[in-house]
């Protein structure tokens, strides 16, 4: 029942926010496909402003299989401070296959379990999107094709909810990175290039976060 309790408390928190929208930090969900660098970004932000991390990063997709929160992350920009709750969500996908994990030297049993958890994670991420977030940071691997069903669908949902959204073109440290391709894919939204891993362009990242979610 621990999970339920946790959920309930999270819900009641959101509820209180619903009834008193001006109080408390906004909850910003970090969304995106698996392996886009969501956790790396979340850790980067959390470390920069709170000193500790949110969760383990990995090259193995679906490393984050449960949404993780970091609350009261206070970001200072231009003398003002913006406080947000960061929610690092599992990567969203339409297919989960355990065979994907086998390539990363994971045993079959473990891979099957991971894929089940990853699937649960997607369900959780979608549920959070429905119920619990006030804004979205959409993280994309700028070295990968952004024109995917998942991206289109998620951005569409986010737009339909009128949530403020920032597109982060991550992994600019990679040679194949093309920020322009990301920007072209979603011209209606602001695209911010960055490398969460290297910490490149984080100043602009925080400026935009403060501007969009403050």
């Amino acid at each position: 029942m621990g999970l339920l309790t946790e959920l309930r408390s999270s819900i009641s928190r959101v509820t209180s926010k619903l009834f008193a929208p001006d109080q408390g930090p906004k909850r910003i969900g970090i969304y995106g496909p698996p392996n886009a660098g969501k956790t790396t970004l979340a850790n980067r932000i959390a470390r920069d402003w709170t000193g500790d991390a949110i969760g383990p990063e990995s090259h193995v997709p679906h490393e984050t299989r449960r949404a993780r929160r970091k609350e009261n992350v206070e970001i200072e920009r231009n003398g003002k401070s913006v406080t947000i709750d960061i929610v690092d969500t599992p990567g969203v996908t339409t297919k989960v296959d355990y065979k994907e994990f086998l390539e990363h030297d994971i045993e079959k049993d473990d891979a099957v379990r991971r894929s089940r958890e990853a699937t649960e994670g997607v369900a959780e991420a979608m549920h959070w999107l429905r119920e619990d977030v006030d804004g979205v940071i959409y993280v994309l691997d700028s070295a990968a094709d952004p024109f995917t069903q998942v991206n289109t669908m998620l951005i569409g949902i986010i737009e339909s909810k009128d949530l403020p959204v920032l597109i982060f073109a991550n992994k600019t440290d990679l040679e194949e990175s093309s920020v322009q391709q990301i920007a072209n894919a979603f011209p209606q939204h602001e695209t911010v290039p960055l490398s969460a891993l290297e910490g490149d362009n984080m100043d602009e990242v925080y400026d935009k976060i403060a501007e969009y979610f403050g």
Binding site: L3, L4, L7, R8, I11, S12, T15, V92, T93, T94, K95, V96, D97, Y98, K99, K108, A111, V112, S115, R116, T119, E120, V122, A123, E124, M126, H127, L129, R130, E131, V150, M153, L154, I157
Partner: protein, 389 residues
């Protein structure tokens, strides 16, 4: 072999979308569903039920589809829900007053159950003649005592109105047709036929209510869909068909006199519908038959026997599972089927396909997946309850 086309025998994997637009092989739209391994258990489980209870509607039966997981499981759940409804209705039906009061919605709901109930599970599972006979007699008696008189009244009063309504509203509406049918049957029954009919009548009498139509229709469709599952092998049927035919005939004949002429044509169709429902919901039992069932079954046989009658009734296209059904129904059916596709499909252990929109749209939150294809969810009520606090 979870799904099989009843026309050509083409089989489909569980969750196959091919069959949504009909069998690719022969265009048939009737499929039977056989979860692997489930059938034997279910049958045995069901049989004792019937024998013990003796009553038309044993309360606790497990739908045959239950264990197969995934879509199948869902279907199974729907089946259970349906059956619960029906049983509830049944118990209520016993009360003759009900008919008199003519509770629209409820009564409407009852119908399918009523007509189908008696034969339910025993039929598929146990072709035991003794059991069925007993039951039949029991039913008959009870019906006669209780239901007989009141139904007649209800039928009499209802009949005219129903008839008219059906006439007015285009015959196209299957439900209404059914209503007309019901009335007719009732009339016929009251005059002559067995008490068994009475049961059918009770339920049927209620059908006329226009408001219910949607409900009824829903039900019908569902039932139809499921029908393939429960449908008894063809071999069983012939035996039953004979006696029933008589009953149907009588009903049909009588009906005209009682009801307006327009209703007549409909009547034939209606019977069809009834029959389908019966067949669907409950595996048809060889031995114990209501008039309703009988008529149903006779309907099955009818195309050969009484072609002229069937012809004047294009409205029967309503019957979704009939391959000859009208196209509009297909669209409806497809929509319903599509809705049943899961937000998470387990292709095989460790392989999942996710329907993001479904996941996003659903209010309940899937907390964990189980290996066997079930999942644990938190229902939205809880959340709302918390919110209120």
């Amino acid at each position: 072999m979870p799904h099989q086309c009843t026309a050509c025998g083409h089989t489909f994997e569980d969750g196959s979308k091919e069959m949504l637009s009909g069998c690719p092989g022969c265009g048939g739209t009737t499929f039977q569903f056989r979860p692997s391994g489930a059938s034997a258990d279910d049958v045995s489980g069901a049989a004792p039920d019937a024998t013990d209870a003796g009553a038309p509607g044993p309360t606790d039966e497990t739908p045959p589809e239950r264990e197969s997981g995934g879509v199948a499981e869902r279907m199974g759940r729907t089946a259970t829900a349906m059956r619960d409804w029906m049983h509830r209705d049944d118990s209520e039906e016993a009360d003759p007053t009900r008919n008199g009061t003519g509770e629209g919605t409820d009564t409407g709901r009852e119908d399918p159950s009523t007509s189908g109930r008696p034969d339910d599970r025993p039929s598929t599972s146990t072709p035991d003649p003794s059991t069925s006979d007993e039951r039949a007699t029991g039913e008959a008696t009870s019906d006669t005592t209780e239901a007989d008189t009141p139904p007649t009244d209800a039928a009499a009063s209802d009949a005219p109105s129903t008839g008219t309504s059906s006439t007015e509203t285009t015959a196209a509406d299957a439900t209404e047709t059914t209503a007309a049918d019901a009335t007719e049957t009732t009339a016929a029954d009251s005059t002559e036929t067995t008490a068994a009919d009475a049961t059918g009548d009770d339920g049927l009498a209620a059908w006329p209510d226009p408001p219910d139509v949607s409900h009824v229709r829903e039900k019908d469709q569902r039932v139809h869909r499921r029908r393939p599952t429960t449908r008894p092998p063809e071999s069983e049927r012939p035996t039953e068909t004979r006696a029933p035919t008589e009953a149907t005939d009588t009903a049909a004949n009588d009906a005209p006199s009682a009801a307006p002429p327009s209703a007549e044509t409909t009547a034939a169709d209606d019977t069809t519908e009834d029959g389908l429902i019966v067949a669907d919901e409950e595996p048809v039992d060889g031995s114990a038959e209501d008039t309703a069932q009988a008529s149903a079954r006779s309907e099955m046989a009818r195309p050969d026997e009484l072609p002229p009658r069937r012809e004047p009734t294009p409205e029967s296209g309503r019957v979704v599972s009939e391959p000859s059904g009208e196209k509009p129904d297909m669209a409806e059916l497809r929509e319903e089927l599509n809705e049943q596709f899961e937000s998470i499909k387990i292709v095989e252990p460790g392989q999942y396909e996710l329907n993001l929109m479904e996941l996003y749209d659903r209010e309940e939150y899937i907390i964990s997946l189980r290996e066997n294809g079930r999942y644990v969810i938190q229902m939205p009520e809880d959340w709302l309850g918390d919110r209120m606090e």
